[in-house]
């Protein structure tokens, strides 16, 4: 993808001064030996995370997001680059010296310890006095609504309860930075959404700098102050979720990371760009396309296109239509648009659609970069 660092152009907080930065990654690179060959897991990632900010690292598996998190925690050492926490270069420091807390995907609770002992463990290790341990455990247990579980063991708890205990064990130390490694991915869908809301509330109350890794775009959008989209070990874009959604830095961010189906409409691209359109990819979100036959409005001809409808899926307030450029077009040229529920399009129809050009983007086919920003 692009070699330019998108966050300098798209990160609206680029001009923060040093004091506000809680966590800084400078050209952090991590390579692993893999049977003779070298694999670059994280490729020169830089970002500044401000005090109290909630940043979500999102990307497909193997994109380097977890490795980045582990380097912040001190569980891995970067091959190159620096990790700075509160102005201090923490390179070479053990996790315990960094004052970070981490919540793991499988909770990683001590199975033979009670909930109370699990919560108190980081304090016991740090030789906090008994009374303070007890009062903090009580405080955290009440905050997370697990006070009645204190004498149970992790094995007797549900997944959601275990995750609360894991959160509590992180909170109890009052660390500088919270790190989350896909903490909700082992929960069922309903619980995941509940815990997401709780995490939002918790962050509002505790207000600590947080770095959260997930592959779930919805989680990324709902939890974050800023989303950092990663692919192939590189940071693609770091920006507030709405910006990532509306102004994707490149094809990857638009297409994969926010799970918006790309409508690649070569004909429109050609009309828009008098030059060599084969170098460009035209992108528009499914919901920014209108079925012109049911709207009493005229559209400029350069914003409309005809397409063959293959599938109609009503989803309540909208209808998802799967379109192809023509009846005989191969399946990989199909794309999906989301139109108003009153659309009368049926499979087999050829319908005229209009695109909201203010929300469309043109991408460089070779580099994937968004040229319309």
């Amino acid at each position: 993808m692009s070699d330019t660092t998108p966050q300098t152009t798209l990160d609206e907080s680029a001009d923060v001064d040093d004091r506000d930065v809680s966590l800084r990654l400078e050209d952090v690179t991590k390579t692993f030996e893999d049977g003779g060959g070298e694999v670059v897991a994280v490729d020169s990632v830089s970002m500044d995370i401000r005090d109290g900010e909630f940043v979500v690292l999102v990307g497909p598996s193997g994109c380097g997001k977890t490795t980045t998190l582990r380097m912040i925690a001190g569980l891995e050492d970067p091959t190159e680059g620096r990790v700075v926490i509160h102005g201090e270069d923490v390179l070479g420091q053990e996790p315990r010296e960094r004052n970070v807390a981490m919540v793991f995907q499988n909770y990683a609770l001590y199975p033979h310890k009670t909930v109370r002992e699990n919560l108190a463990f980081p304090l016991a290790i740090r030789k906090y006095p008994k009374e303070e341990r007890a009062s903090r455990v009580q405080e955290v247990a009440e905050l997370l609504d697990i006070a009645e579980l204190l004498d149970r063991r992790p094995g007797d708890l549900s997944g959601g309860q275990q995750q609360r205990v894991a959160l509590g064990r992180a909170i109890i130390r009052d660390p500088e930075v919270f790190l989350f490694d896909e903490p909700l991915s082992n929960l069922d869908a309903k619980l995941r959404i509940e815990m997401r809301t709780e995490l939002n509330k918790l962050h509002a109350r505790v207000g600590k700098t947080s770095v959260y890794v997930t592959h779930d775009q919805e989680e990324a959008m709902t939890l974050s102050d800023r989303v950092a989209v990663m692919n192939d070990g590189k940071l693609q874009q770091i920006a507030p979720p709405q910006t990532v959604y509306e102004r994707p830095a490149n094809l990857f961010v638009e297409g994969e990371a926010v799970r918006a189906t790309r409508a690649v409409l070569q004909t429109l691209g050609e009309r828009l760009q008098a030059g060599d359109a084969t170098d460009l990819v035209f992108g528009v979100r499914p919901e920014d396309v209108t079925d012109t036959t049911v709207v009493d409005e005229s559209f400029p001809p350069e914003t409309t296109f005809d397409a063959y409808v293959t599938v109609v899926e009503p989803i309540g307030a909208n209808k998802d239509l799967t379109l192809a450029p023509s009846e005989s077009a191969p399946e990989d040229e199909e794309f999906t648009v989301r139109v108003d529920a009153n659309s009368t399009a049926q499979p087999g129809d050829t319908v005229t659609f209009a695109v909201d050009m203010s929300k469309a983007h043109l991408f460089d086919r070779a580099t994937g970069e968004n040229l319309t920003l």
Binding site: G74, P95, Y110, P111, R153, G155
Partner: protein
């Protein structure tokens, strides 16, 4: 099966064949388990029943003939001080071997687990397993010669490095003889303990170590709070089996010292052998065997319950 659809065979042989195959089909469990149950009966249930019966017979003159006396052998056993001495030696022997082999197994397993390269680790593991392949009586003979007072390699090494000024008769001294048989027994059991503990170590999730590191635990604290608790079930399994085998051990003490000097290393299995095989007192030997089996079963029963509890705690 409805008769309406059944084609009735015309010949007698055909009818018999059909009956047999129908029986097999309808009683498939019996057909599959039958041979196993029969062999179990022949090679396990019958001998055990015979042992019980035999322990209730008072053996007459040199094993020829016997009379029924259900408690006579047990009473004689309890009253015999040499029996209690054999029990004491068996406990020393079995717990000594248990302690040495489990400790060595733990240390070796931890070392193996820290070998990063898989191929190297597998090579080491195989090498350690080799001593397991040595027959127990060969182990005993080997250790007997290693500790031989005149020709043994141990005396030679100790003299060469200056720790001994003259040969020492390891197997003629009651205390050192016991120590030697315990070491020989432990040596043969270390591979088993190592493998079980190593498997336990490898089943500990990496996430637990990461969590402990982030929580601030040192290496020693991580060992105490993560490694050991997770290891407990496999440690118990390895320990139980090691102890049970050592408690009933015969080949190693018999081929190393033969129970001597005097009866310093005469564990229960050798004691039984002496009365049953050498003195033809089958009834008495059977009674002592019943004691050996009984203790083993009781301990195993308690242990298994403890293990199941441990495992459910970790897995739940």
């Amino acid at each position: 099966m409805s008769d309406v659809y059944r084609r009735v065979p015309e010949t007698t042989f055909g009818r018999v064949k059909q009956l047999v195959s129908e029986f097999a089909n309808d009683h498939v469990r019996l057909v599959l388990l039958g041979p196993a149950l029969v062999s179990l009966l022949v090679i396990f249930i019958y001998p055990v029943a015979y042992l019980v019966w035999s322990s209730m017979q008072r053996t007459l003159a040199f094993g020829v003939g016997a009379e029924f006396a259900p408690t006579a052998n047990y009473a004689a056993m309890v009253e015999d001080p040499t029996f209690w001495s054999a029990v004491e030696k068996t406990l020393t022997y079995s717990f000594g071997s248990f302690a040495v082999s489990m400790l060595a197994g733990l240390v070796i397993a931890l070392a193996l687990n820290n070998v990063v390269r898989k191929r190297l680790r597998d090579t080491y593991t195989t090498l350690i397993l080799l001593s397991w392949a040595v027959p127990l009586s060969i182990v005993g003979v080997t250790w007997r010669w290693m500790f031989n007072g005149q020709l043994g390699v141990v005396n030679k090494i100790l003299r060469d490095v200056g720790l001994l000024s003259q040969n020492f008769s390891w197997l003629a001294n009651p205390d050192t003889a016991m120590a030697v048989v315990i070491m020989a027994d432990a040596w043969s059991r270390i591979p088993f303990a190592t493998i079980i503990i190593l498997a336990g170590l490898q089943s500990i999730p990496q996430e637990m170590y990461d969590a402990a590191r982030v929580d601030g635990a040192t290496t020693l604290q991580t060992f105490r709070h993560v490694t050991l608790p997770y290891l407990r079930p496999s440690f118990f399994v390895a320990g139980l089996i090691t102890w049970m085998f050592a408690f009933r051990a015969f080949a190693i003490p018999f081929s190393t010292t033969g129970g001597g000097p005097a009866s310093a290393t005469e564990v229960l299995a050798i004691y039984i052998h002496r009365f049953g095989i050498e003195l033809f007192d089958f009834g008495f030997a059977s009674a002592v065997s019943m004691f050996l089996v009984g203790v083993t079963l009781i301990v195993a029963g308690i242990y298994v319950n403890v293990i199941l509890e441990q495992i459910s705690e970790i897995e739940a």
